[in-house]
């Protein structure tokens, strides 16, 4: 080994990383070379100095204490008073953080107007809540959110039913977390972050660990109260949010401190996305702390609209420091999962696509789908899976409208009207009931796989003109069922289908109307074909085709390195 090789290996040698032979060669050289030996001694001496730092600082943990003080400092009154000047130096050797918290309340109470003083008390309550969980090793939240099961984690809709949303988060020894809605899951296993959308078996992966990803930050904030305090404080200052504190006796007979935050998103009322995501909604947030333990016990969030308040989130279960099953950090993916690209790659003809307008890009995308040219369609959306191919294959554009924007969305919304290719499906019809009429028992796809089983809680009733219905063939009964549905004639529809089907259809129609869709125009047109008797199931299968016109707004954005428009939602 010569001098250059020896010096290149010196650090590895000091660190004990050389294999036996290399180590011996290095030692042999050191014994014969004074210059390299001096270098070795110098490195070892420096290393000894550095090594002494480790044990001395091993237990240093001041992040939370500093962040608490940073937040307290932010809430200090702008103008100086005698009291605030005296208390400014409270850090000075002797007053701990608890005393610091007390001091800030005192400052705020002495110097702020009445309304802000209440805010200071509210912040102090939240700060104590954060301190109570400062040594948190894990947390589990289970709440109910008015949302669509497969939609974004922060998507809210006052007209949707409540669905369960849960967060499991481990802070020690290594940060890991999982958030789950009925049809959407994201897991950060300490190495990477993967989200699965169950409705179309699509997954997205960030190859790194994250503290929050996709649009889950609002839930993480609740799990990490110090973040919540910081956020509410920033907004109280920047956007004039109002905070107050009241005390109430809870159902358990214990005193509760209730912090209420009136949050204004700043998004104009006429904005397309207003009140559709947590971040752009005007809300009233109610945090309830146990006055004795100081722990956060529940959170309720209400959407505040001119028409009145609607509760959209209810969190009543919070488990602190309970062990979380390691299986929670594993996300079972379907074998045929489709992976979405995080960022579209640059194409050889990238400029051609990057220079399109939003409307041109939407047109090109739908036209490619219409031709079943999935390679071309893939330049505008990822992933293109079988479900999308089945849905948009053969589509025809009826019209495209003027693109528009939303305050918090970096892309464009393009209104569209499309005619989807006829979808083949089958309806199962039986007349083995006391009324002897043909009624609908289930829906099946083109390959006779069950899609929806119609549950009849009671037998079909015997109608006053029952005989007229008994004479209808299976095909005629199905035609009459679809006619009644398209006319929104619920009484007539009930003669052919279960009560639950009628109620579900009504709810879907109401939802579509509330979202601004013209349901009369967009109701699928059904063509009814031939009926086939199935001896095994003692039922007829009636072949049907649905032709649907869809009118909606597609979300498309080009804020990616390739600068190409990518479909983001609204299909």
């Amino acid at each position: 080994m010569n001098c250059a090789e020896c010096r290149e290996n010196l650090v590895a040698s000091v660190e004990g990383l050389l294999d036996r032979e290399e180590s011996l060669q290095c030692q042999a050289h050191l014994e014969t070379c004074a210059a390299c030996r001096a270098e070795h001694v110098a490195i070892t001496r420096l290393q000894l100095q550095l090594v002494s730092r480790g044990p001395a600082t091993a237990k240093v943990r001041i992040v939370e204490a500093v962040m608490r003080r940073v937040r307290q400092e932010q809430f200090k009154p702008e103008r100086e008073t005698i009291m605030s000047t005296i208390l400014k130096h409270r850090w000075g050797f002797g007053l701990g953080t608890a005393a610091g918290a007390a001091a800030i309340i005192l400052i705020a109470l002495l110097t702020l107007p009445k309304t802000q003083a209440t805010a200071a008390e509210a912040i102090a309550t939240m700060t104590r809540g954060a301190q109570a969980v400062a040594k948190l090793t894990s947390i589990h939240l289970r709440g109910q959110l008015r949302t669509a099961p497969q939609d974004n984690f922060s998507y809210i809709n006052a007209d949707c039913p409540f669905y369960t949303i849960e967060l499991w988060k481990q802070f020690e020894p290594e940060l890991k977390w999982r958030i789950e809605k009925p049809k959407r899951i994201v897991v950060m296993d300490g190495q990477s972050t993967v989200m699965l959308i169950k409705t179309d078996d699509t997954a997205v992966k960030f190859p790194q660990r994250t503290v929050s990803a996709f649009d889950t930050e609002w839930l993480h904030r609740i799990a990490n109260l110090s973040n919540t305090i910081s956020n509410e404080l920033d907004n109280a200052r920047a956007k004039g949010w109002k905070l107050n504190l009241t005390e109430k006796t809870g159902a358990d007979g214990r005193l509760k401190s209730v912090v209420t935050v009136l949050a204004k998103s700043g998004v104009p009322d006429n904005d397309y996305c207003k009140n559709t995501f947590m971040e752009n909604a005007d809300t009233r947030r109610v945090y309830r702390f146990d006055a004795q333990s100081k722990l956060l016990e529940s959170v309720q969030i209400y959407l505040t609209r001119p028409s009145g308040e609607v509760q959209i989130f209810d969190l009543s279960r919070i488990d602190y420091n309970q062990s979380i099953d390691t299986g929670m950090w594993k996300l079972d993916l379907p074998a045929d999962v489709s992976w979405a690209q995080l960022e579209p790659p640059k194409l050889s003809e990238n400029e051609k696509y990057a220079s399109l307008t939003a409307e041109q890009a939407v047109r090109a995308f739908f036209e490619a789908c219409g031709r079943n040219d999935w390679n071309e369609a893939g330049k505008f959306m990822s992933p293109i899976n079988d479900r999308l191919k089945e849905y948009l294959g053969g589509v025809k554009i009826v019209s495209l409208g003027e693109p528009f924007t939303s305050k918090d969305y970096p892309g464009r919304f393009v209104p569209y009207e499309i005619k989807l290719q006829a979808q083949e499906f089958n309806v199962r019809v039986t007349n083995t009931n006391s009324a002897k009429r043909c009624v609908i028992a289930g829906m099946y796809d083109s390959k006779l796989r069950l899609q929806q089983d119609f549950k009849w809680s009671t037998e079909p009733e015997i109608l006053t003109n029952n005989d007229a219905y008994v004479r209808l063939s299976p095909k005629e009964a199905v035609q009459a069922y679809f006619d009644a549905q398209s006319k929104l004639n619920w009484v007539e529809m009930r003669k052919f289908t279960s009560e639950s089907d009628v109620e579900e259809t009504k709810a879907q129609i109401a939802m579509a109307e509330k979202q601004g869709m013209d349901v009369h125009k967009q109701m699928p047109v059904f063509e009814v074909g031939e009926a086939t008797w199935s001896p095994e199931q003692s039922a007829w299968f009636v072949k049907c085709y649905a032709v649907q016109v869809k009118k909606w707004n597609i979300a498309i954005r080009q804020d990616n390195p390739a600068g190409r428009w990518q479909v983001d939602g609204g299909l």
Binding site: V11, L50, R53, I62, E73, G92, N231
Partner: protein, 184 residues
């Protein structure tokens, strides 16, 4: 993986105050070591470390070179430590132990330059030194954490040692010159 100091400073300035915790986490240990040789008493050191970070946070807008956050933080910590020593001396004028404490502090002065020299390193070298000696990671663990080959980590350490020695030698030489000129 993580952002650079400059990027975190800029995010804090842009209103993401919660990101300041990353900078605190990154430098709490070396800052503690820096203050420990000046203040000795563990509680004083912790209070001074907290105060240094809080002052740094409140003055972030004044930081001209965000990439030099750590050396700027050490400057603030140095002033905080001086204030405390002055205050301590003042408070303990009637107390006989003052002299012995001050003597201890004086004894430790030869350790002063190490953290300052680390602060003067380019960020990539400083990061490896902090991970190795203040966070207690092995070279293999650093390689995994930074997603680098093991050989790159040992080479970076080697270069960091060379730069540290240069820096310490320069400081020693400057100090010697100052001391000599002060001689009568």
């Amino acid at each position: 993986m993580d952002l650079t100091d400059k990027e975190y400073v800029e995010r804090c300035r842009d209103g993401h105050q919660e990101d300041f915790r990353v900078l605190v986490d990154r430098y709490q240990k070396p800052l503690f070591a820096y203050l420990a040789v000046r203040l000795r008493d563990g509680r004083q050191v912790e209070e001074a470390a907290q105060e240094s970070f809080v002052r740094a946070f409140l003055s972030l807008k004044k930081l001209r070179k965000p990439e030099s956050f750590y050396s700027w933080l050490l400057g603030i910590a140095g002033r905080v430590a001086k204030e405390e020593l002055r205050s301590l001396k003042h408070r303990q004028q009637d107390c006989e132990v003052t002299e012995s404490i001050m003597a201890n502090v004086a004894d430790s002065r030869e350790d002063y330059p190490l953290e300052e020299a680390i602060a003067a390193l380019p960020e990539s070298y400083r990061q490896v030194i902090l991970l190795r000696y203040y966070e207690g990671n092995s070279c293999q663990e650093i390689a995994t954490r930074l997603d680098l080959p093991l050989g790159t980590v040992t080479k970076t350490l080697s270069r960091a040692y060379a730069l540290l020695r240069q820096e310490l030698a320069a400081r020693e030489s400057a100090e010697t010159t100052v001391n000599q000129t002060q001689l009568p």
